[in-house]
Symmetry: C2
């Protein structure tokens, strides 16, 4: 079985499950994408905020802090005059751009399939 069909590979800490954590939560993948596509791996807080419609200041900050903690981005504070902060993709961050783009590209090519998907939320 060369397609990962071995059940022993399906432990709780296997690679597939770990990558899910990246997408599972919040805005992380969108920040990765934005940093990569729009700004060559670096951008300031305000720019990111404006590039991600719908995100709140709190969530942006929180996401950036978490990404910094996990080593995906680095934070650079410039002259204190008007506190200018720039975030940059780390080398590790650059690597994780690939799966993000893989997925986003697929989505763009298959929006018809996405259209056919029910909302999958059913209350009560």
């Amino acid at each position: 079985m060369d397609k990962g069909s071995d059940e022993t590979e399906w432990r709780e800490d296997c690679s597939p499950r770990r990558i899910l954590e990246l997408f599972s939560t919040k805005w992380t993948s969108m920040v990765l994408h934005t940093l990569h596509a729009l700004h060559q791996g670096r951008a300031r807080n305000g720019v990111l905020h404006r590039s991600l419609p719908g995100i709140s200041k709190k969530m942006l900050t929180q996401t950036l802090r978490e990404m910094e903690a996990s080593g995906l981005i680095s934070r650079h504070v410039a002259g204190t005059v008007p506190p200018a902060v720039e975030y940059r993709l780390t080398e590790l961050g650059h690597r994780f751009v690939e799966p993000v783009e893989l997925l986003y590209d697929w989505a763009r090519r298959n929006d018809d399939a996405l259209d056919r998907l029910g909302s999958r939320k059913m209350r009560s």
Copy 2:
């Protein structure tokens, strides 16, 4: 820019954001994968349960119900004797196997990057 860097493409309902909903939540992608890889698109409840270490009965049922509601799988009840239920990937479900495998394959090839990722959870 040919890489989707146009900000107007980044609306709240764009394809990339919609595909995220599939991965974002729960066990959906793992059920898709299991159904596809282990059982050629069809499997019974108990088999799925045993193939997904860590899932609870409640979450399995709930996930299957949601996937049925969104059209990814179909439910087939056999003879009522011992209620044998089989779930099958629909044609739409088969399409969504592709991005799942794309992502899982990447993860398997890049487990070193995943190892280098911090846990990204930082409480208070």
